[in-house]
């Protein structure tokens, strides 16, 4: 089988395409990949001469040659190379993130033919340059040697030709007969693929596409079907919302499109303006979510109470609006002051408020629609002219499919990115159902829970290997181009469907054809087709003028479903994990070792419960607890979580994936190494997701939890949860450490005065150690903007080749992340407040680490960096002891870099550190050097913004500013001088180069604060 490599496009044409993204911080976006002809020629040369070299780069090429399916054409090296590619210089390709259906814009950094980093695409209308941890980490899955490398027929490896002939003949039988063919898809965003699926299914008498989402939002679509006559999922525009009432919608964490929502949310918080302004987020939730941790006000309610409190809010808003939706339950005024207050606030900001709800309950969503309608948010913060096209799942369709399967009506079931056996195990007896379908085909890249039950597995490419497109919002269509030749003998879904329709076609041709017919007419009808295509490739997305059909008038639904009584029994709530989502990325060790932003647990999912509930049951952190009454019993370790409802226990989805067993081998082996993973990493709690009244429900009432008596130690990266330290024997007060400063919007001026009055820097006895002729690099981190999402942690891990050390090492306090996010709680119960504080090397001017190193392995550079010289380090660890921020990381062992495929992800600009040396954040010195060289080549001085460290680049909230502190006009200097700025541990006179900006909340009920 010969898959034509995709880089057939004419490279010279591509070069003529002007870069449409900023000239300096980016990257030439040549539209096409490396010219693989050149690469192949060189590989062939190596093969032909039998030249086996030990050098990394050559070994890399050799490896690629082992996997590349391309034929050998010439056996001579391309000495001149190609104009487009210079060895050692990265190329950047605009693409669309394949991590989840949110469809953020991404840039793939390709070095010497291999993608080594994914970053946010600057200027993307949704993600605005940000990219979340999952989006960045899914790069690593490209190099996963455990992906399926060949198609499988009845669990046996076959060639595509064999597979195609078998499937074609079986499908031919179905085309002539009357068997029902179903495609079950999840996260389908590609319009070309959708069109192809439609064409494919049209060949059958009974062919249907069924879509589902593991975390379903189909109630929102159903509610809009009722109120607007169309199953819309609006695009929520948080940048247009001054007041947000969010009912269990973790929009900054995991809900729908968190990167876009975070960017919008941040845009509304203009704290540096002359008159600081900030939106107000009121989070009404049962557990502590990431959004709750950033909320300006937080109200803890039981999940069962959400419809009831929505009813009360609707009641108060409707009284203000003068329109009373029918069926509203009666409200006792005395008890509901806070809802009246919230209603008043929303009403005051009608037209720029927003009500969102994250549950899958139709009545709640109808109330949300009514509220947004009364508050005139439709057309403003709730955009239905350009609604969201992702998350098309329909619970009803899925349940219908399960019934059809149960009746044995289905002749062929094709699964596209669908893993219902893992994701929704309790809604149907999948194993027996799949067994009785004559033809089951999965496109899964792994032999996952579902694929292993399918007769045919036709492994799909990794998103970076193939062509694709995505339309996640009406009028915004993005293109995905391959960044590397497929590593294995995989094939895209598009190609497979085309082949099985008897019209095999190149993916690029299929997509281009679709774009010419369906995209260009709406985007650039007058442009030359080639020009349009190439400019679309270069920018990664196009905006089309298309809008959704304008819905008719608002149909006022009855509110009768909301109910007025609340039964607050012990309830289990399943939420997607902040680290691995709903499980699609659980096979990614980067994500497994990413500390959950709130619990700080790695390598496990836990059951969280409130301190009071834990005390009542005598449960402590790490006690294994059995959950009964929510499907099959689940056993999970418990973790006490502040700010949670006392009658709610929360569990994270996404763990317990088949295939994660292998992670028990991650980490160094030595005599006291402990093996913690008994089987898969974590437990699958999706068994608790049930279809109730035709809808997937993620909370289960009336459960019981019991301690099993067993202990399951948890690998937490942070042991101390608060800044308040115990102070026995001493008078009360001053027990709070001041590393995190926070205030409210109204108190900001006074606070700022106090903050700057606090420290009087004393004059130095010594002249400055280091001449300031060079730029002095510095950073400002806005704690108010930081949501703790951990995108920066992942960016740093990918950029700086940070090893994964495994659960045992994390438990021993030896995780290697150069950038961590400290999370501190204050207050209890509903008053719990959370601070997220990214902590990385502050490149101190008077660095305590530098004075103590006996061998000068850590020294100060002229441009203000605290440099770590790996090959001089002898590993005394004195520097780490003396680092007040504890950001230095020691190589306790030789961390394995033995997987030759996985090593392809390493950034060649950053050294792999050996055992026994210290390492730490460098402010991405390789990027500084690159920008400096580029400026020099271009004969210009470095401009502000030329350099973006990896953490800054991907931050969805743009919480990080980097630049030259010696230039008073630079963005970082201005941010450093801003009123909220302070330096952690400034009193030690270590002169950190990182300034933090205090957290500002704008709670409801607070007087003052200039509203926008």
């Amino acid at each position: 089988m010969n898959i034509k490599h995709n880089h057939q496009d004419d490279a010279s044409t591509m070069n003529s395409v002007p870069s449409l993204v900023g000239p300096s911080d980016a990257p030439t976006m040549a539209g096409d990949g490396a010219d693989s002809r050149w690469v192949i020629a060189r590989r062939s040369f190596l093969q032909a001469t039998g030249f086996t070299l030990a050098g990394t780069s050559l070994a890399t090429l050799g490896l690629l040659s082992g996997c590349a399916p391309a034929p050998v054409r010439r056996a001579l090296p391309g000495i001149a190379g190609v104009p487009e590619q210079t060895p050692g210089i990265a190329q950047w390709y605009a693409t669309v993130c394949g991590g989840c259906p949110a469809g953020c814009g991404a840039l793939a950094k390709v070095r010497d033919g291999r993608p080594i980093k994914l970053e946010g695409l600057p200027g993307h209308p949704l993600s605005r340059g940000g990219l979340c941890a999952i989006g960045q980490a899914h790069l690593l899955e490209l190099y996963d040697g455990h992906r399926l490398q060949d198609p499988q027929l009845a669990q046996k490896t076959v060639t595509w030709a064999t597979l195609d002939s078998r499937i074609t003949s079986e499908l031919a039988g179905l085309r002539t007969g009357s068997g029902a063919v179903r495609i079950l898809a999840s996260g389908l965003t590609s319009p070309t693929l959708r069109a192809t699926i439609t064409r494919f299914l049209a060949g059958f008498t009974d062919g249907k596409l069924v879509e589902y989402d593991p975390v379903s939002v189909s109630a929102i679509r159903a509610a809009h079907q009722t109120t607007h006559g169309a199953p819309l999922l609006p695009t929520y525009r948080f940048e247009r919302a001054q007041v947000v009432a969010s009912f269990d919608a973790d929009f900054l964490g995991t809900w729908l499109s968190p990167v876009a929502f975070t960017a919008g949310w941040k845009q509304r918080r203009r704290l540096e303006a002359a008159s600081p302004q900030s939106s107000q987020i009121v989070q009404i939730e049962s557990r502590m979510s990431l959004t709750g941790s950033k909320a300006d006000s937080r109200i803890v309610v039981h999940p069962n109470e959400i419809p009831v409190v929505l009813g009360r809010l609707t009641h108060f808003v409707s009284r203000l609006a003068g329109a009373l939706p029918t069926g509203l339950p009666s409200v006792s005024h005395a008890l509901d002051a806070q809802w009246r207050e919230l209603a008043g606030l929303l009403w005051k900001h009608r037209g720029e408020s927003l009500v969102v709800c994250g549950n899958n309950d139709l009545a709640s969503q109808l109330a949300v629609n009514a509220l947004n309608q009364m508050l005139a948010n439709y057309g403003a913060s709730v955009d239905i002219a350009q609604p969201c096209l992702a998350y098309n799942g329909s619970d009803a369709a899925l349940l219908t499919l399960t019934q059809e399967l149960e009746r044995g009506d289905i002749a062929a079931l094709i699964l596209v990115d669908a893993n219902p056996v893992y994701e929704l195990p309790a809604i149907a007896p999948w194993k027996s159902l799949l067994a009785q379908v004559p033809l089951t085909i999965s496109f899964a890249p792994y032999a996952d829970e579902t694929a292993s039950l399918c007769r045919v597995v036709a492994p799909d490419h990794h998103p970076l290997e193939g062509w694709g497109d995505a339309e996640v919002q009406v009028g915004l269509i993005a293109i995905r181009q391959p960044a590397i030749n497929p590593l294995y003998r995989t094939r895209s879904v598009l190609s497979s469907l085309q082949a099985w329709m008897g019209t095999p076609a190149d993916d690029q041709a299929t997509i281009r054809q679709y774009w010419t017919a369906h995209v260009q007419p709406y985007a650039a009808p007058l442009q030359n087709a080639d020009t349009f295509w190439h400019s679309a490739l270069a920018t990664g997305f196009v905006k089309a003028s298309a809008t959704a059909p304008t819905p008719g008038s608002f149909f006022w639904p009855s509110m009768a479903g909301l109910g007025s009584k609340v039964s607050t029994e012990l309830t289990l709530v399943c939420v997607p994990s902040n680290a691995v989502g709903s499980g699609k990325h659980a096979l990614n060790p980067w994500l497994q070792e990413l500390p959950d932003p709130l619990t700080k647990v790695t390598w496990d999912n836990v059951l969280t419960l409130s301190p009071a509930a834990a005390a009542a049951q005598g449960i402590q952190d790490g006690d294994v607890v059995r959950i009964d009454g929510a499907g099959d019993p689940i056993t999970l370790p418990a973790l006490i979580q502040r700010g949670q409802h006392d009658e709610v226990v929360t569990v994270s989805l996404g763990y317990g994936r088949a295939g994660t067993e292998r992670f028990s081998a991650v980490g160094p082996r030595w005599i006291e190494r402990r093996e913690w993973q008994d089987g898969a990493v974590g437990r699958n709690v999706a068994t608790a997701i049930a279809a109730i009244d035709g809808r997937l429900q993620y909370s289960r009432n009336g459960i019981r939890i019991t301690r099993t008596g067993a202990k399951h130690p948890l690998a937490k990266t942070q042991q101390q949860d608060q800044l308040e330290t115990p102070r026995p024997w001493l008078p009360a007060g001053s027990a709070m450490r001041n590393h995190v400063q926070s205030t409210t919007l109204a108190q900001l001026p006074a606070f700022a005065e106090h903050l700057h009055g606090e420290h009087h820097p004393e004059g130095d006895m010594w002249p400055p150690d280091h001449a300031n002729a060079e730029p002095q690099w510095g950073m400002v981190i806005d704690l108010s903007a930081c949501t703790g999402c951990s995108g920066c942690v992942m960016a740093c891990q990918a950029e700086n080749n940070i090893p994964v050390v495994g659960k045992d090492e994390v438990m021993r306090g030896r995780e290697m992340h150069w950038l961590r996010i400290d999370r501190y709680y204050s207050g209890e119960g509903e008053a719990t407040q959370v601070a997220h504080q990214p902590m990385l090397c502050a490149q101190c001017g008077n660095a305590p680490c530098e004075t103590v190193c006996p061998v000068l392995a850590t020294v100060h550079s002229e441009d203000g960096l605290n440099q770590q010289v790996y090959n001089r380090c002898v590993g005394t660890r004195y520097c780490a002891n003396n680092c007040p921020y504890k950001v230095r990381r020691f190589n306790w062992f030789d961390y394995p870099h033995q997987d030759p495929i996985e090593n392809l992800v390493l950034n060649p600009d950053v050294t792999i550190r050996t055992r026994g040396v210290m390492e730490k954040c460098t402010f991405c010195v390789q990027r500084i050097a690159e920008a400096r060289i580029r400026a020099k080549v271009e004969g210009r001085p470095l401009a502000d913004g030329d350099i973006q460290p990896a953490c800054q680049q991907s931050c969805p909230a743009q919480a990080i500013t980097f630049g030259n502190l010696a230039d008073p006009q630079s963005a970082v200097s201005r941010a450093r001088e801003a009123q909220r700025g302070y330096q952690v541990l400034a009193e030690l006179n270590i002169k950190p180069s990182i300034t933090y900006q205090a957290i500002v909340r704008h709670p409801i009920g607070e007087a003052g604060g200039q509203h926008g």
Binding site: P668, W670, I671, E672, Q718, Q719, Q720, L723, T725, P726, R727, P728, W729, L730, S734, A735, R737, H739, R812, G813, R814, E815, R820, D822, R823, Y824, Q837, M839, P848, T851, V852, C853, P854, V855, L856, R872, C873, V874, G875, T876, R877, Y878, A880, N881, N882, P884, Y885, K886, R889, F890, N891, W892, F893, T914, R915, G916, V917, L985, L988, I990
Partner: protein, 461 residues
Amino acid sequence: MANTESVLRLSLLGQPKSPTQVTEDIAGLLEKPIGIGWWVAFIPAVALLILGITTVSYQISTGIGTWGLNKTIGWAFDITNFVFWVGIGHAGTLISAILFLFRQRWRTSVARAAEAMTIFAVMCAGIFPIIHMGRPWRFFWMIPYPNERGSLWVNFRSPLMWDFFAISTYFLISLLFWYVGLIPDLATLRDRAKPGLRKKVLTFFSLGWDGSHRTWHRYEMVYMLLAGLATPLVLSVHTIVSLDFAAGIVPGWHTTLFPPYFVAGAILSGMAMVLCLMLVLRKVLHLEDYLTLRHFDPMTKVIIAVSCMVGLAYGTEFFTALYSSSQYEQFIFMDRATGTLAWGYWIMVACNVVIPQLFWFPQVRSNLGAIFAICVLINVGMWFERFIIIVSSLQHDFLPSSWSSYTPTSVELATFAGSFGLFFTCFLLFIRFLPVISIGELKTVLTYGRSSGQEGSTHAE
């Protein structure tokens, strides 16, 4: 022994001895077949040494990760053991050099063994800074040697650098001092030895000693000069070791009190260790006539003095923390006394400050069993002192997010045991092959003590 009698009137020996008897007693120990007791001690010591060598080899080949350290706690057992052993060494130099200069004649019987202890303890100590490195095979980078790497030099601002100089100087001077003191005795042994290898070796090392007045004169001059050279080292070495901590900014480390505090602590632990060893030697080698209460009594009094100094330092630390108004300092001391390592803190206070006060009682000072027990406890307490200073300060420093805890691994425990193996192996070889008491010097104090002046006046050289 009448209470009214001045201590200066007491003889330094249990029984009056003639110079010949002294030579017979001390040198004779080395010429008899060794008793089973020595083997009973030597075999476990060597076993521990082998255990230590094995674990250190494993650690060096596998990584420092085999220790219980983490991102917050970069030093624990390694540097604790280092300071512990350096501290033990101090009493040897104190006794042999400072007390020599102060003409404390009672030191004669204990000086040799104490100094041997110093050398072996410093050897044990010196191992830890090397094996605690991530890349111990690069330890020579700590030496400021001319190199081909341009101007690459060491960091003279780093206390670890100073440490390197301090420890190596201390070891060299101590070794030299000890060896010079040994020369007359080596000559005595040479003269008694039968022809053979032993005699050849002794001949070589006794450097042609001829026992003439001129030789004695020069010997004594050199010995005194070396004593003068070694004296400041007693203070400087532990001062510099303490600067490893004091020069850091870690709360609980960053204090100017450390140099005197550490020196006092070192003398406390060293004296305790000397007493332990001497009490055992006295019993095992039947040196009851040479090691008497007249020796142990002043040493226990030194212990009272330094124990009080250490106690004062403990108190001063708390006062400084309270007075500093630094919440980090205040927290760390409260945390030491009440936090997760409080048990270790109170072991330290009890063993180093409270229990040694028993030496105020003459009954305790004259009870050898009690002295031994107290001295063992002091050594335990002094080990904990270093452990508490290092670990409790590191584990709970500035940012609560990084707070951590420490548990030693089996590798660390075995390495610590191995250092005892090295120490006792060396010490046992020392008592087997070299005179444990300076024969030549002892002969000068045979008549010490004015109450027995008549006998004393009989001495004739």
